[in-house]
């Protein structure tokens, strides 16, 4: 038979869900704070948010709520019984003071007397002309304020340690975020949110909660909370509740804001075929507990309770996942009971594997007694993963011969991860009798032990194991790793060990030795290894050479030099590379000596090495080598090296070579000048351009001049030289000079080049057109159009139209219609199909109606009908959604006219993508 107290407990528990652990007395109803919500008007959905607020307050068990839909009826007498007023009222965008003197006065007095005022969202967007209200609320929606989209954003509690935000960590909320509020200096900012510019915000952290003092009272303004949906966020609720409590009393003690069990029960039937909204709400709750131990404890407990209830399996699995993050030792024993469960065994273990603490380890250990097969193996794996030293005795049991191989294997691996003296002894003892299929597992476990010892500084113990693992019976790759371990742990033995391994003929071990040479531990052994290079296979020789290159010890150079004469190509290439990395001045001869007879790969390697070789006098020696009568193949490489090394002082010598030598050497010298020289050399090269002797190398002279111009801060110096040389130049030279001017562009050059459009010589005219066609900007467009229109020569006309197409195609900053207009003009001038096709291809990239019309009109010309159709298709695809009618007409006409089946297909696919009929 139930007594009244018990009934009351149950009733209140159902209503409030508060953490009652003892029977509730009637007096408790009075200890709750009384809230008066002001509602009745708001430019937000107050009819939904007001009940939502009421529910939130009541569910916490801390508040009793009344709602007043007409704040103007406030009076001192009426407000007396309340502890805090919560404003959900606004008359925004009106600026009027609507409540009347009496109500205003009573509100202010209410707070001043030591009570609280809370505002939500738009409640801070009214009464701009009521100064006391503005002072009370501390911050307001002002004339500069705004907000972006409704979206998810990050919130942080700005003031660490303020009572209101004490149990709140960072969180995410989906809401409307205000920015640039008017904030009074006296207001405390409690939390901020990131206002993303991509979502219409400011790119700043904007305040979203304020507290202020007013007389002997307090206010709390929660700016977030645009609608009932946003108010469902548990962090929002916590802010509201604690802020309200604080406003009323000056303290914030609420830690558990609502009935956790209710939220869990609502999702208890979840199966994985359903929507996950209820799960997401629980997840949010779990994350909100990161700085709230009471909430976390209660939540974890309630979740574990549900694990033992009749809730759906999929939901229980979800709970285990949550518990794996928020669970504590309080949940351990109950989770452990599920380790043998057919359906939840894995998920229970998942939670326990992530749960730290000795209780967890003990529970897992204890559980091994009742488990077998896969479930047991799972727990063994987890104990290994958690490196539980106390498990050693238990795991040892599974090493017995009568044990299942799979379990034994798991135990071996787990023990290896745990490591330590006991384990090492056990494992070493296992060595002798281990079966073939478990040997690799054991070796792996021993390796883990050894590495564990090494990290702990117990090199002696580690060395003992490494010695065992170097044994011939062990897996090869582990033997090699063990060799490395021995080298690290037995420094005195290192050289002997490495020499033995090197001489062993076992390529895997030899490879390990080479690998060690490339590491800091290998330093002392590098020369010893290098001196034995020729005893190794070719593959190992080249590996060793690369390792020596990495090590960078110059003392190994003599051995590396010897390897240059190897008959094996990979070895040679490796030697060349190594010399480039750690060679010195003496290496220059070595490398040069390899040039003759080198194949493509060797030449490439030599070039790299010559380019990177370091030494005090190398550059000078290279310059000398270039001038002296060395073999042409050598001189060629020297020139290339000088350019790659950036040796500016070789420019005079290079110029001489360019002028005096012939063929390949001249070309290389010109290339090098293009890399190294600046505009000061322009006159010399322009002279060469005018000299018949260099007619064959004209392109290289042009490139060199272009390079020089780029090396100067601006190309003006070179341009001036070119312009000065133009008037008296021969036709062939003139073309070259014009082409180089074309590389630079610029106003000065433009005016000069365009003048040549009128030149008496047709070749020069065409050269001018070509150069203008490739101009770096679109200034020549008008001239090219004019030239196309006026020229009587087909070649000139075609060239000019190609130029128009090219430049218009590149003018992406010009409006599409303007570009289309130019193409239209050009199309009008063109009388051959080829230039028209080129122009149409540009049209196809212009996404405007005008361009579409141009393309469509070209459909009447049979020789370009396919190109016109293609252009129409491309343009329609881009603008068809905005201009379906025009696109449809254009494509229909195109479909009629085009001949190519491929183009027809494309047109059909565009029609279909746009949802248009044929």
């Amino acid at each position: 038979m139930r007594d009244n107290k018990t009934i009351l407990t149950i009733v209140l528990a159902i209503l409030g869900g508060f953490l009652f652990l003892e029977p509730v007395a009637d007096a408790d109803a009075e200890s709750r704070l009384r809230v008066l919500i002001l509602a009745g008007k708001n430019n937000h959905a107050w009819q939904e948010t007001t009940p939502a607020l009421k529910r939130i307050y009541e569910a916490s068990g801390r508040f009793v709520v009344d709602v007043l839909n007409d704040p103007s009826t406030c009076s001192a007498q009426m407000l007396k019984k309340y502890d805090v007023i919560a404003g959900n009222w606004t008359n925004f965008p009106s600026r009027d003071r609507e409540w009347g003197r009496e109500a205003e006065k009573s509100l202010l007095e209410f707070v001043r007397s030591g009570k609280g005022f809370v505002l939500v969202h738009a409640a801070g967007a009214c009464f701009p002309s009521w100064p006391e209200y503005q002072e009370l609320i501390g911050a307001a929606w002002g004339s500069n304020s705004g907000h972006g989209d409704y979206h998810a954003f990050n919130v942080t509690a700005a003031e660490e340690g303020h009572p209101i935000t004490q149990v709140l960590g960072n969180f995410i909320i989906t809401d409307e975020l205000w920015h640039r509020m008017d904030v009074k200096p006296a207001a405390h900012i409690l939390a901020k949110a990131y206002s993303d510019q991509a979502r219409g915000g400011t790119g700043q952290w904007e305040p979203i909660a304020f507290s202020s003092k007013f007389g002997r009272g307090r206010s709390f303004y929660l700016v977030l909370g645009h609608d009932a949906q946003a108010m469902m966020n548990p962090n929002w609720k916590m802010l509201l509740l604690r802020g309200t409590e604080w406003a009323a009393t000056g303290r914030a003690a609420i830690e558990i804001p609502f009935d956790i069990l209710e939220i869990l029960r609502a999702a208890a039937g979840y199966t994985r075929t359903e929507n996950r909204e209820r799960l997401a709400a629980i997840e949010q709750l779990a994350q909100s507990s990161s700085r709230n131990p009471s909430l976390r404890r209660q939540l974890a407990k309630s979740m574990t309770d549900m694990l033992e209830s009749g809730a759906a399996v999929d939901f229980k699995k979800f709970l285990c996942e949550q518990l794996s993050v928020i669970g504590t030792s309080a949940e351990v024993s109950r989770l452990a009971q599920l380790l043998g469960d057919k359906e939840l065994g894995f998920h229970a273990r998942l939670a326990l594997e992530r749960l730290p603490g000795n209780d967890t380890l003990k529970a897992l250990r204890d559980a091994t007694n009742g488990l077998s097969g896969r479930l047991l193996i799972g727990v063994v794996n987890t104990l290994g993963e958690k490196r539980d030293k106390q498990s050693v005795k238990i795991l040892r049991r599974y090493l017995r011969d009568d044990q299942d191989t799979e379990v034994k294997s798991a135990a071996l691996q787990a023990l290896g991860k745990i490591g330590g003296d006991e384990v090492a002894d056990d494992l070493m003892a296992q060595e002798a009798g281990i079966s073939a299929d478990l040997r690799p597992v054991l070796a792996e476990a021993l390796m883990n032990c050894a590495e564990g010892f090494e990290s702990a500084g117990k090199t002696g113990e580690a060395a003992r194991i490494y010695r065992k693992l170097r044994d011939a019976a062990q897996p090869l790759h582990l033997r090699a790793a063990a060799l490395f371990g021995s080298v690290r742990c037995e420094a005195g033995e290192a050289t002997r060990l490495l020499l033995d391994a090197l001489g062993s003929g076992d390529q895997a071990l030899q490879s390990a030795v080479v690998r060690i040479v490339g590491t800091p531990q290998g330093k002392s052994f590098a020369q010893g290894a290098a001196s034995r290079m020729t005893t190794l296979s070719e593959s190992l020789q080249s590996q060793l050479l690369y390792a020596l290159a990495d090590l960078g010890d110059a003392k190994t150079l003599p051995e590396i030099n010897k390897a240059l004469s190897s008959s094996s190509r990979p070895v040679k290439l490796a030697a060349i590379y190594a010399i480039g990395r750690l060679g010195d001045s003496s290496s220059l001869e070595q490398l040069i000596g390899q040039i003759d007879g080198a194949d493509v790969a060797e030449l490439a390697a030599l070039r790299k090495s010559l380019a990177g070789l370091r030494g005090p006098d190398l550059d000078e020696r290279l310059i000398t080598m270039m001038a002296k009568s060395a073999a042409p193949s050598v001189r060629k490489e020297v020139i290339i090296a000088l350019a790659a090394r950036g040796v500016r002082q070789s420019v005079p010598a290079l110029l001489k070579t360019a002028e005096d030598d012939t063929g390949e050497l001249r070309i290389e010298a010109l290339k090098a000048l293009g890399t190294l020289a600046d505009g000061a050399l322009a006159p010399a090269l322009v002279r060469m351009a005018g000299d018949e002797r260099y007619g064959g190398e004209r392109p290289y002279i042009e490139r060199a001049l272009a390079g020089m111009g780029r090396r100067d801060k601006t190309p003006d110096r070179v341009i001036d030289v070119l312009l000065a040389a133009l008037p008296d130049s021969q036709p062939a030279t003139r073309e070259s000079l014009l082409r180089v001017l074309g590389r630079f562009g610029g106003e000065k050059s433009f005016h000069v080049v365009r003048a040549y459009l009128e030149d008496a010589d047709a070749e020069i005219r065409n050269a001018a057109v070509r150069v203008l066609s490739d101009w770096p900007d679109r200034s020549p467009l008008d001239d090219l159009l004019a030239a196309a229109g006026s020229s009587k020569e087909t070649v000139t006309k075609v060239l000019a139209l190609q130029g128009v197409a090219n430049l218009t195609g590149k003018a992406v900053d010009m409006p599409a219609d303007d570009r289309a207009g130019i193409i239209e003009q050009a199309l009008g001038i063109a009388d051959l199909p080829e230039p028209k096709k080129l122009l149409l291809s540009v049209v196809g990239r212009l996404f405007s109606l005008k361009a579409l019309r141009i393309a469509t009109s070209c459909l009447d010309q049979t020789e370009i009908v396919d190109e016109a159709g293609m252009a129409a298709a491309d343009i329609s695809r881009a603008i068809g959604k905005d201009y379906p009618k025009e696109a449809q007409e254009a494509l229909a006409k195109a479909l009629e006219r085009v001949r190519s089946p491929g183009v027809a297909d494309k047109i059909r696919s565009v029609l279909s993508d746009l949802g248009l009929k044929r």
Partner: protein
Amino acid sequence: MRRGKLSRRDFLKRAALAAAGAFAAPSIITSKALGGSTIPAASDRVTLGHIGVGGQGRGLLNGFLEAKGCQSIAVCDPFKNRREASAELISQKYADLSGKGGYQGCAAHEDFVELLTRPDIDAVVIATPDHWHVPIALAAARAGKDIYVEKPLGISINQNKALRSAIHRTGNIFQYGTQQRCFNTHCAFACELVLNGYLGKIKEIHVEAPAGTSGGSTVPAPLPEGFNYDLWLGPAPASPYTVDRCTNLGTYHVYDNALGFIAGWGAHPLDIMHWGYPQIPVEYQGTGTIPLEGLFNTVTNWTIRGRFADGALFTFKDGPDKTTFVGEEGWIAASRETIEANPKNLLTAVLKPGEIHLLQNANHYQNFIDCVKSRRPPASPIGSAVQSDFVSHLSDIAIRTGRTIHWDPVREEIIGDEMASRLLSRPMRSPWRL
């Protein structure tokens, strides 16, 4: 859930071996006999086993069939039709080359343990769903094989660390499948400019990767013929098979076996980021969308803001793939297909010989094979793979916790957030383990 064809005992036994690694002779030295006079000498060929021959796996297979100095001799996949088709393709290719109609051919294995125990395989190419990447790579490393593994790396930060330790121990050659490092040479160029100081001090780095997908059927469906679903699941939690579970989308967007495109696509631009700027942010904060409907439940859209230790800013969000480095003296942006910069003349800069050069080879597969032979680190080694993958994980954790994540790059731990730190691991279904 039906089991596959292996008996339970066999399965556990193989799993045990797989988890530990099996006896195998490593490297290219072992000579193998294979038929045909027009195939180059056996000792010069790196022998490959392909684990995972679905969509991506087939693409890699074809890529390696074209590479020089290697031969594919085994394939492995829980889908019978896929493994048989691939084995047939390979056998046919070599039969054509060797001119012998009766060429023995490429083996088709169902499970990878069998493949890894073969001493005649030098290296493996792993193109399985994400949750298998590290467990199989670990087993391969412990079997002494060299490894090419698809991106992203592990489905937890702890998985990545475990793999890195294993590779460092035995010096296996490891290539991460971020193929842009070779195939898209302008990416190397962009990173070279950053590394060699052409942009000056870096102030910001912005990374974008395509958004993920939502949807997918949750309705249980019968298993296709010849498909070992339990093996496919492996260490991932058991769940009913649906028609979308094991498709290309299913492998990317189900949280049980992947992180979603925040890692699956993000790996590429993040890898380029790390290549040019070898450190990762120490602070992560942001938001992301996780679908509440349908099978796919990884992050689809996201925006992360972060900070490097030196104060440089970091953003990572969904968008067309791109890595943008902003320095005091200009910026450069590389995507798979294009490169842009300001000032424009950065694009025509010519590196000096003494400066850092990154590009090893224009073919990511050939690069791997060459490095298996030379034992040199390839273009995309384990160290940077681990770091760039960390960024995906830390971003995902920031989204799922809603909190700012602080990362200690030296100890490789999350600082001051015990709950978030638990997300560094993903317990594995028995008998699988790290």
